[in-house]
Symmetry: C2
Subunit: 302 residues, 2 copies
């Protein structure tokens, strides 16, 4: 087995292991209640458990290891960012937004339940994400908990993810320039990925310089991830993706792929992945999996 | 002027003054940005500024005074709970939920903008509420900030407000017993009102016994408030309320008013208001306005 193949196998195993740990954490953090709101919790579990790459969760788990943070604490933060991400998918899939029927190979939440339930599921998942971060079990130092809440809220709000989604809705069939596309994607998906990479440093009370390196890494793999996603949308089938494929082209949506073409977009993503990996040189071998992840962003098939 | 009339005038003035302070805080905390997301911030301001009784904000401001908390800090927490409340109204008004056209005498958010924008406005307002609580300016002690986040999330999530809304949607035209109605309303509106009354104690790092008194006060006025709201729905016009009136009856919704009749429901609310006021005896004259508020809950006209 070549060194690269061995590295890929190690990354794939680590991704699987981390995803299972995050899945267990979500399962514990979203127990089924009795009473009328059981349907709500059941739908929250439907929207968060059983699938997804858990990329954001993996970033939290792996960056936390760099600072010897307890995996139990890291898994709570990973679960929380995955709940936040899941809420955004549930709301983005709604008829008034992207109107999607398929997500992670299953009917979207409003299809499996109904629209009102899906709105409430998203609302409650966002709330639970912040609650988990603020609870004592996440970290004994309340400053760490408050910082985690503040950083997540900043990444997920009007100046982050939700702001990006708003720009995306408004831009539906407009021609955007590459800088405009990059800004939209930075807000819509980049900020949350960057937060996930920084979370380990926050949990580990790392020096500011280390947190900045991880933020830079997160920014670059976030951008690479988005370009790779747009390439997959062009080159894959819906079956491979577990969600609708070819949507960007059909809807006339501007992406770096539509503006630069697949090959130049791929070259740009590869450059970003290398740049992301370079930010982690300081951490030596401990960051090998995170570096492998950066390259995997560009070569992944779903 | 009788003692009661003087007390009422003092309460009305205090409500007006507190509402203006909360309004100014929201105005500062939601500045208009440049760029594509300007529409989002503009709609967030539309949904939160310019009206509303600011009952929850008043509770934060007044309970904070009991513990000599800085009004600037209290106003941030008051603004945050009003943003959380506003988000819940924006989502409750959506076509897939209550499908309302009028709120605080203005077109609802999805009517003034569109459905996608209204979904995002609610999402971003919830996020901003937690962000404001977690920021250093809210309190220099990070434990206070983490506690504020945790208590708000617990009141607003699947085991609180959103859970209550889910039960409400499922109960749409079912006959409910008085205990079932009470539980629904405790979750849907009671928990957030209780949080608002407790917030002053959290900000003031008050002894647990004081916090429990305020929680008990909050629970009772929350229940009284809801019954009064249901009575107003029966007895007022849409013009007086600034939102649709007579809705509960038209939709066959079970309320304590529909089950007990207006007079017995009013008597129950009056008892709850007296009980609420009694919890505050410990605080002496400092709690006079909060006691007056409890009684005002039952006598208010909108």
């Amino acid at each position: 087995m070549s060194k690269k193949a061995a590295g890929d196998a190690r990354l794939t195993a680590a991704l699987r292991e981390s995803a299972a740990a995050v899945e267990r954490a979500i399962d514990t953090l979203l127990p089924l209640p009795e009473g009328g709101e059981a349907r709500l919790l059941e739908a929250m579990r439907y929207a968060t458990l059983g699938g997804g790459k858990r990329l954001r969760g993996f970033l939290v788990m792996e960056t936390a290891k760099l600072f010897s943070v307890s995996p139990t604490c890291a898994a709570r933060v990973a679960a929380s960012v995955e709940m936040l991400h899941a809420y955004s998918l549930v709301h983005d899939d709604l008829p008034a937004m992207d109107d999607d029927d398929l997500r992670r190979g299953k009917p979207t939440c409003h299809r499996a339940y109904d629209e009102a339930t899906a709105i409430l599921v998203g609302d409650a998942l966002q709330c639970r994400a912040f609650e988990v971060l603020s609870e004592h079990d996440t970290h004994s130092d309340p400053l760490v908990r408050a910082d985690l809440v503040c950083a997540l809220a900043s990444a997920a709000g009007a100046r982050g993810m939700v702001g990006g989604q708003m720009i995306d809705m408004l831009a539906a069939d407009k021609a955007l320039s590459p800088p405009e596309i990059t800004r939209l994607q930075t807000l819509k998906t980049g900020k949350l990925i960057q937060y996930s990479a920084e979370a380990g440093a926050i949990l580990g009370r790392a020096p500011a310089a280390h947190r900045h390196l991880l933020a830079a890494y997160g920014r670059d793999i976030g951008a690479a991830f988005q370009i790779a996603d747009d390439i997959l949308d062009v080159e894959s089938t819906s079956e491979e993706l577990g969600k609708a494929a070819g949507k960007d082209q059909a809807s006339g949506k501007a992406t770096l792929v539509s503006v630069l073409g697949v090959e130049r977009a791929r070259a740009h993503a590869t450059m970003l992945a290398e740049q992301a990996a370079a930010h982690l040189d300081h951490f030596g071998e401990n960051a090998d999996l995170l570096k492998a992840l950066a390259r995997y962003m560009v070569t992944r098939r779903n």
